[in-house]
């Protein structure tokens, strides 16, 4: 009888040649690498770029602003990847949602209207993704790849690639540009979503069932987990959060635009994996994801401040990602 074994085999992949003996312990170190690497990166830039203003509050808050959308989509993507699925459509959803929200605001639907339309855009796409994946049983990679094109096309088509300015100052304040005291509103949103995401994943039955679905779908099903429902919901969540990220892009840029979020799917997935969530499902950490996102953001920021050429930035960034993981890997193996 076909049972849990699909996922079980995948678990095997977590372990690797070197620590073959310590099978499955593969999971542990990943949980910490990203924290170590992140702290390492911060310390390094703080020392070398102290005089260049890296360690100023305003620069650190900038990093928080710049990573907010990736972090927030990353929180939702953590759930998707924890079930062993993937969502490639998030980047294009942010673009479309920024535009629909901007158009709604322009049409005078007001703050709530704009927000509802933007979030609704993400929600609807998430629902369609979820249905195709669970009901028609098409692999999520293909569904969301197709959807990525469809949504991007719609975003280009809806205003014929023209950006739509947003003059609604409350909207712009709440979704991107505002500060509460000296705390950027984007940081507040990131914290709120992170905390909610973390609690859902670690403290609720839904979170537990998400991990169970990814850990071994058949076993979860036998145990009474409605794995299809779980999968459906994580895609809805991912769509919704991408829509929310679209609002944040719109608020930050005072406009909707079809190129927002271009390529974000890869950054989001990278943050999730760097954070320690397994691409094969069953293991996930929201906090890790956000730290992963912050780490990438910090590297981007530090290398620019360092004054490197673009090509040098790319090389060094790639090296840091690999070395950080390799270093953490070595350190923790002992």
């Amino acid at each position: 009888m076909p049972s849990k074994d699909i996922k079980l085999n995948e678990q095997v992949k977590l372990q690797n040649s070197v620590s073959f003996a310590k099978r499955f312990k593969g999971v542990d170190w990943r949980d910490y690498i990203v924290y170590i690497a992140f702290i390492g990166v911060i310390i390094y830039f703080s020392v070398t770029l102290y005089d260049d203003g890296f360690l100023t509050t305003s620069n650190l808050l900038n990093i928080a602003r710049q990573t907010a959308m990736i972090s927030i989509m990353g929180v939702a993507m953590t759930f998707v990847i924890s079930t062993g699925e993937i969502d490639l459509s998030v980047g294009s959803i942010t673009a479309l949602a920024s535009l629909t929200a901007a158009l709604a605001l322009k049409a005078g639907l007001g703050l709530l209207g704009g927000v509802a339309v933007g979030l609704g855009t993400g929600l609807v796409i998430g629902v369609v993704n979820g249905l195709l994946i669970t009901k028609v049983a098409i692999p999520s990679f293909l569904v969301t790849l197709g959807m990525m094109g469809i949504v991007k096309g719609l975003a280009m088509w809806i205003t014929d690639t023209a950006p739509v300015p947003i003059v609604h100052s409350t909207f712009n304040f709440l979704f991107g540009s505002g500060d509460i005291g000296s705390i950027p509103i984007l940081l507040v949103w990131t914290l709120v979503i992170t905390v909610i995401g973390h609690i859902i994943l670690k403290k609720t039955a839904f979170g537990r069932q998400t991990l169970a679905t990814g850990g071994n779908e058949m076993a979860a099903k036998f145990t009474g987990v409605k794995t299809s429902k779980i999968k459906f919901l994580v895609f809805v969540g991912s769509g919704l959060m991408a829509g929310f990220a679209g609002l944040l892009y719109a608020g930050r840029m005072h406009a909707g635009r079809f190129t927002f979020g271009e390529g974000d799917e890869l950054s989001v997935i990278a943050a999730v994996i760097l954070g320690g969530t397994s691409l094969f499902g069953g293991v996930g950490t929201v906090i890790g994801t956000v730290i992963g996102s912050l780490m990438i953001g910090t590297i981007n920021n530090g290398l620019i401040i360092m004054g490197l050429d673009v090509s040098q930035q790319m090389i060094v960034k790639g090296l840091i990602i690999i070395l950080a993981v390799a270093f953490g890997r070595k350190t923790l193996k002992k």
Partner: protein, 499 residues
């Protein structure tokens, strides 16, 4: 006669047009332990999966307390207080023991969040009752098969159940744990819980069961009261023919004079293997006995190059070997049939044939290409020799019954024709007929001059084949017994528990 608690009537089920259940009737009384017996692939697991809503029957009806019920999914089964200990384990390897046991039934605190602490406490109690020493917070994937099984059992027991199905619950358990389980079964029985018990271990059946139903090739052969039927008759029903006395030990002749084919000196590996020494001679069958967790599996893992060796030496045919990788072990003629067939033995989404030929790819090449005809021939031969029940050699291994999967692991290593065959619990889940076949194969191999090392927790089986038995405890060989000197199972049992 009282109305049965459960009755399944005229159940039929086909897969890919092949009938695996044919109008089967089955009934269960309150407080009864009812054994469901039959060869590998007879349809036992399938019948029970129909009862638990994993599959739906093509034909037939299910009645509970006389009322017709329809069980279309696992929730329907739960609603009818039916729960099952699965043969393939319904555990999520990435979650902890406690998280698995309470999956979908997690204790929650006042605001609806998971109460991990309570969950762990409850688990601890359950595990204590079962006398298993694992922590509730251990991640399943890090545990061995035996613990998986205990977790499965704990999971089923923790549920509010009227009908408990146990599909080979003891297959990876040792005597001690099996006894704990039987105690629990007695207690459950007293509480009025009914149990359907599937096992290939004859002695257990007669120890705890009230009635027996035998299936063969998807048909019900008979249902009898346990005290009105003999073991021989049951075996005859299962196999469909008489079995020769496979479990009888016969003294074999071989020489312990020359160089041992395998000699292990002061082997240490990890925390479990501390100091293991033994010799294995050509033509010899050496049994390894010990408790669960005694380090037997780790010992052979180290010998086979899976776990790193921390100390000691290995000699093959007198030559000192460094074995750092299974490939090294295979190259010096060692084969290991691992304990956990799913994780270590099989590629489940590949076919029977592909699994069988995996270790011998280099031997069936024609030029640089694989010789497909030869591959098919070899696979066909082993399917026949080991009597593997499959539609054809192209069937996905995942779809075979538990016992037949185990036979494929055996087949793939026999195909490689090793000098030293190491078997870790080779008969887990294998039916009585196949068991005797496997024992025959082991004997024949040894007769042809090969050396065999067998780890088994089934003492009867160990006693039936071994020429010599070493007892492992705490990672050391604590006793070595000549088979001749062992006059009863109790002697061996005592040696194992003796520390």
């Amino acid at each position: 006669m009282q109305q049965p608690l459960l009755s399944m009537e005229g159940i039929s089920k086909s897969f890919n047009g092949i009938k695996v259940l044919d109008s089967v009737n089955f009934s269960l009384h309150k407080g009864e332990v009812h054994a469901l017996m039959g060869g590998n692939g007879a349809g036992k697991s399938t019948l029970m999966k129909i009862l638990t809503g994993v599959y739906t029957a093509d034909e037939g009806e299910i009645f509970i307390e006389g009322k017709k019920v329809s069980i279309n999914n696992t929730e329907d089964a739960k609603r009818n207080y039916i729960s099952m200990i699965f043969q393939e384990f319904s555990l999520v390897p990435t979650l902890t023991v406690a998280q698995n046991i309470f999956l979908t039934r997690e204790p929650k605190n006042s605001i609806g969040f998971l109460n991990e602490k309570l969950c762990n406490e409850k688990t601890k109690e359950l595990l204590k009752e079962l006398e298993v020493d694992v922590e509730p917070t251990d991640v399943i994937a890090n545990l061995g098969v035996g613990y998986w099984q205990m977790t499965e059992i704990a999971k089923a027991l923790s549920q509010n159940t009227k009908i408990l199905i146990m599909d080979e619950p003891t297959s990876s358990l040792t005597k001690k744990e099996t006894e704990v389980l039987f105690d629990i079964i007695h207690k459950l029985k007293e509480k009025g819980i009914s149990i359907i018990y599937i096992s290939h271990r004859m002695d257990e059946i007669f120890q705890i069961c009230d009635r027996i139903t035998v299936l063969r090739d998807g048909k019900k052969i008979t249902t009898e009261n346990c005290d009105e039927i003999s073991m021989e008759t049951v075996i005859q029903h299962i196999v469909g023919a008489d079995l020769d006395k496979a479990f009888e030990w016969k003294e074999r002749v071989y020489s312990t004079e020359g160089t041992p084919v395998l000699e292990v000196k002061n082997l240490a590996s990890g925390t479990k293997v501390k100091n293991i020494s033994f010799r294995l001679y050509p033509g010899e069958i050496l049994g390894v006995a010990g408790l669960m967790g005694s380090g037997r599996s780790e010992m052979v893992r180290a010998i086979f190059g899976i776990d790193p060796i921390d100390g000691g030496e290995i000699f093959v045919k007198g030559k000192k070997c460094t074995i750092k990788d299974p490939v090294d072990a295979i190259n010096v003629g060692i084969a290991l049939i691992p304990e956990d067939r799913r994780m270590q033995g099989l590629i489940l989404q590949h076919s029977v044939k592909e699994n069988i030929i995996l270790p011998i790819l280099s031997k069936i090449k024609r030029g640089i290409f694989l010789d497909n005809r030869k591959a098919n021939d070899i696979a066909e031969t082993f399917v026949k020799t080991l009597n593997i029940k499959t539609d054809d050699i192209f069937k996905t291994v995942r779809l075979l019954s538990g016992g037949n999967q185990q036979k494929i692991v055996l087949a793939k290593w026999l195909a490689n024709n090793p000098d030293i065959l190491v078997l870790d619990e080779p008969t887990i889940g294998v039916d009585i007929g196949a068991k005797t076949e496997i024992m025959d194969i082991i004997r024949k191999l040894a007769d042809s001059g090969k050396a065999v090392l067998v780890i088994s927790s089934e003492l009867q089986e160990l006693l039936a084949v071994s020429d010599r038995i070493i007892v492992v405890h705490g990672g050391e060989v604590v006793k070595e017994l000549k088979r001749k000197e062992i006059h009863s199972e109790e002697v061996l049992q005592h040696a194992i528990q003796g520390h």
